[in-house]
C-alpha cells in the first residue's frame, strides 16, 4: 500500500516514515502543501496522512483542494490543534479520520488499517483484538493457534459489534440494537445470556463487563 505522508516536522516525519516502512508500507514523505499537491497529481496513492499545521499552505486548504478535484482517496488527519472545532472542520471537509498529537504509532496504524478496510469495502476481512480473531465469512473465532469455534448468529452479531473497535464499551441498548432486527421482540436478559455463552466458549476474560456501563473486548497491544 502506497501512502503519502504530509508532515512538516522533521523528527515526527522521519519516525512515521520509518515505522511505516517497517510495517511494509510504501511511504512518500513531503514537507509542505505545494509539494503534496504536486505529488498527488503525479502519483497514485492509497492513502494520505495529512498534518494540519503546514507551512506555506494550510492542511485544511489542501484537503478541500484535493476533494474539489475529485480525489476520493482516504485522508487521515494528524493534528496538534486540540480545538474540537478543527477536528470537526477537518471531517467536514472530507477527512475520513483523525489522530491528535501526541499519538502512538500503534494507534495510527490501527486507524490506517480500519480506514483501508472501510474504504476497501471488504466485509470479509477478519476482525482482531490481538487475542481473538473473528472471521465474518465463517462466523468462526480463533484464539491464538487453536482451532476455530463456531458461533451462533446472535453470538456472532454481538461479538462482531464489540470487535469492530476493541476497547470500546457498548451499553446493553447498543448491543440489543445490533443483535435484533427491526420489529423483533427483545427478550430480557438476552445480552447476558449471549455473553455467558461466549465466555463459556472463549474464556471468561474474552468479554469484559464494566459494571453499570456495558461490555467490551479488551484491546490487545
Amino acid at each position: 500500500m502506497r501512502v503519502l505522508l504530509v508532515e512538516d516536522d522533521a523528527m515526527i516525519g522521519r519516525a512515521i516514515e520509518d515505522a511505516l516502512h517497517d510495517a511494509a508500507y510504501a511511504v512518500d514523505w513531503v514537507r509542505d502543501g505545494h509539494m503534496a499537491e504536486t505529488a498527488l497529481v503525479s502519483g497514485h496513492y492509497d492513502m494520505v496522512l495529512l498534518d494540519l499545521g503546514l507551512p506555506s499552505r494550510d492542511g485544511l486548504d489542501l484537503l478541500r483542494e484535493v476533494r474539489r478535484r475529485g480525489h476520493d482517496l482516504p485522508v487521515l488527519i494528524i493534528t496538534a490543534r486540540d480545538a474540537v472545532d478543527d477536528r470537526i472542520r477537518g471531517l467536514d471537509r472530507g477527512a475520513d479520520d483523525y489522530v491528535s498529537k501526541p499519538f502512538a504509532m500503534s494507534e495510527l496504524q490501527a486507524r490506517m488499517r480500519a480506514l483501508a478496510r472501510r474504504r476497501g469495502g471488504s466485509a470479509a476481512a477478519v476482525l482482531s483484538n490481538g487475542v481473538l480473531v473473528l472471521d465474518p465469512a465463517t462466523h468462526e473465532v480463533r484464539i491464538g493457534d487453536a482451532a476455530g469455534v463456531r458461533l451462533s448468529r446472535r453470538e456472532y452479531a454481538l461479538l462482531e459489534a464489540l470487535m469492530i473497535r476493541p476497547g470500546a464499551i457498548l451499553s446493553r441498548a447498543q448491543l440489543e440494537e445490533r443483535i435484533y432486527g427491526w420489529g423483533e421482540e427483545v427478550e430480557s436478559n438476552a445480552v447476558e445470556y449471549l455473553i455467558h455463552a461466549l465466555r463459556r466458549k472463549l474464556g471468561s476474560d474474552s468479554v469484559r463487563n464494566v459494571r453499570g456501563v456495558g461490555w467490551m473486548v479488551p484491546r490487545g497491544d
Binding site: 523528527m11 519516525a15 517497517d22 474540537v84 501526541p102
Partner: protein, 459 residues
C-alpha cells in the same frame, strides 16, 4: 454603623443632596425673614398713606359735621379699622376741658404717633385752607396687627415652597445619578469574560472620562487575554510536536530486537515520556480552561462522556485489578462541551484509580435532583484528611508520601472547568467504603434548564 456613616459621607449623591437641602433651607430662612420685615414695614407705610389720603379727602366743602366730629362716634369709619377723624381743637380752647379726651392741640402737621387716653395712635394732621386742623388717627395696635398679618401672609409661599423644593431636589438628584447606578449594576452583573466596552450612549458628560478610562482598561485586558490564548495555543503545538516525535522514536526503538536489559530501560524511558505527555496535556487543559471563553450553547451527555473516559482508563484499572463501575442510567446532560466534560470525568476517575490500592473498588454515580446533575466518584483508597481537602485543589499539590504518577493538576482542572459553568466540587469521606474519598461534582442540568424555559414561555 461607622462604615455606613462613612459610606454616606463618601457618597457624592448624599453630599449633593445635603448641600442643596441646606442651601434651600438657608435661602428660605433669609428670604422669609426679609419678606416678613419688608411686608411689616410696607404695611405700615401703606397705612400711613391711607391716613394721609383719608385726610386729604376733607376740604372746606366736606368738613365732617361738628356733631359727628365732636360726637366721636366714627360711624362712617370701618369699626375694625378703628380710624377716627377729629378736628384738632384750637390751642386757646385747650382749657375748656370736655368730658371726652381729645388730641392735644399742639399736634404738628404730618404723621406722628400720639397717645390718647393712654392708647397709642398713629395720627395724620391735615391743615385745611381755613386754618383748621383735622386729624385722622388709627390705633397703633390695630395697625401692628394688620402689618403682622401681612408679614405672615408674605411668609406662606416660602413655607409651602421650601418642602416642595426639597422633595424636587431629592428626586432630581436621584434621577440624575441613576445612570451611574445603572452602569455600575450592569458592570457588576457581567461575567468575568465579558470584556465588551461600556456603551457611551446617554452617559452624562461628567462620567464619560471614567467610562472611557474603564473601556480602555477593558480593551487592554482583552488584548492580554487574547495574547495569552494565542500563547497557549502555540505552546500546545510547540510542546506536542517534539514530544510526539520522541514517543514515536521510543516506540520504534522498543519494537526492535535488543537484549532484555536494554528493552527494560526503553520501557522505563517510554514511561517517562508518557508521564511527560500526560503532564503537558494537563497543563494545556488547565491553561485552556482558565483562558478560553466559556462556550455558552453546548451541552454534553454525562453517560457518553463517562463511557469514553472508561474506555481510555479501563486498561489502567484492569492492571490494578480494580472493580470499577457506574450507577444510574438516565441520560443526563450538562452545559459543557464534550471535551471539557471528558476532562472533568477523566481526572476524577484517574485520580480514584491512582489512589486506590490493587484489588480495590471505584464507584461512579450520576443522578439528577431539582435541576442539578450530581456526579459522584467514590473509591476504597486511603481517602484524604479533612485538613488537606482545600489544598488538593491547588495546582501541583500532591498527597504526601504518594508515589502515584499524577500531575497534581487534576482537581485544579476539575474545579476550574466546573466553576466556569457555575457548578461546584466537594470532597468528603466515602459513604460506601470504610475509608476512601468521595468527590461530588454538581452542575446545572442542561435539559432541565431548557424545560424550565419552555414552560416559562407557555405561561
Amino acid at each position: 454603623m461607622d462604615g455606613a456613616a462613612g459610606g454616606l459621607r463618601q457618597s457624592l449623591r448624599f453630599r449633593l443632596s445635603l448641600w442643596l437641602a441646606g442651601s434651600i433651607l438657608c435661602v428660605g430662612l433669609v428670604s422669609g425673614m426679609v419678606s416678613v420685615v419688608v411686608a411689616y414695614n410696607e404695611a405700615h407705610e401703606f397705612q400711613d398713606d391711607m391716613l394721609r389720603q383719608t385726610a386729604s379727602l376733607f376740604d372746606q366743602r366736606h368738613l365732617p359735621t361738628a356733631r359727628s366730629l365732636a360726637g366721636g362716634s366714627s360711624r362712617d369709619a370701618d369699626p375694625e379699622a378703628r380710624v377716627i377723624v377729629r378736628l384738632v381743637p384750637p390751642a386757646k380752647a385747650g382749657g375748656t376741658g370736655t368730658s371726652r379726651s381729645s388730641f392735644p392741640a399742639r399736634l404738628a402737621a404730618g404723621a406722628q404717633t400720639v397717645e390718647l387716653d393712654g392708647v397709642p395712635y398713629r395720627a395724620f394732621v391735615q391743615v385745611l385752607d381755613s386754618g383748621k386742623r383735622i386729624v385722622v388717627a388709627q390705633q397703633t395696635e390695630v395697625r401692628n396687627e394688620a402689618a403682622r398679618n401681612a408679614a405672615l401672609r408674605a411668609l406662606i409661599p416660602i413655607l409651602v415652597l421650601v418642602p416642595v423644593l426639597l422633595a424636587v431636589v431629592a428626586a432630581l438628584v436621584r434621577r440624575l445619578f441613576a445612570p451611574i447606578a445603572r452602569t455600575a449594576g450592569a458592570l457588576d452583573r457581567r461575567s468575568g469574560e465579558d470584556l465588551e466596552p461600556i456603551p457611551l450612549g446617554h452617559m452624562p458628560t461628567e462620567m464619560r472620562p471614567f467610562v472611557t478610562a474603564i473601556n480602555s482598561l477593558l480593551e487592554r485586558v482583552r488584548e492580554s487575554v487574547s495574547m495569552q490564548r494565542r500563547f497557549v495555543a502555540t505552546a500546545a503545538h510547540e510542546l506536542r510536536s517534539p514530544l510526539t516525535a520522541l514517543s514515536l522514536q521510543a516506540e520504534r526503538l522498543a519494537a526492535s530486537d535488543m537484549p532484555d536489559a536494554a528493552s527494560e530501560r526503553v520501557a522505563t524511558l517510554r514511561q517517562g515520556i508518557e508521564r511527560n505527555r500526560w503532564l503537558v496535556d494537563q497543563l494545556l487543559t488547565l491553561a485552556r480552561a482558565q483562558t478560553s471563553p466559556t462556550p455558552t450553547d453546548s451541552t454534553a451527555s454525562v453517560r457518553d462522556a463517562l463511557r469514553s473516559v472508561l474506555e481510555d482508563l479501563m486498561p489502567l484499572a484492569e492492571s490494578k485489578q480494580l472493580d470499577i463501575g457506574a450507577e444510574g442510567d438516565a441520560d443526563l446532560h450538562v452545559p459543557m462541551n464534550e471535551s471539557d466534560l471528558q476532562a472533568v470525568l477523566r481526572n476524577l476517575v484517574s485520580n480514584a484509580i491512582h489512589y486506590t490500592p490493587p484489588g480495590g473498588r471505584v464507584d461512579l454515580a450520576c443522578a439528577q435532583a431539582a435541576g442539578v446533575v450530581e456526579v459522584t466518584v467514590e473509591d476504597s483508597g486511603p481517602g484524604s484528611p479533612a485538613s488537606e481537602r482545600e489544598r488538593v485543589f491547588e495546582a501541583f499539590h500532591r498527597e504526601a508520601d504518594s508515589d502515584a504518577p499524577g500531575s497534581g493538576l487534576g482537581l485544579s482542572i476539575v474545579r476550574t472547568l466546573v466553576h466556569r459553568v457555575g457548578g461546584g466540587v466537594e470532597l468528603g469521606d466515602s459513604r460506601r467504603f470504610g475509608s476512601g474519598l468521595r468527590v461530588c461534582v454538581r452542575m446545572a442540568s442542561a435539559r432541565a434548564g431548557m424545560k424550565a424555559d419552555a414552560s416559562g414561555r407557555r405561561d
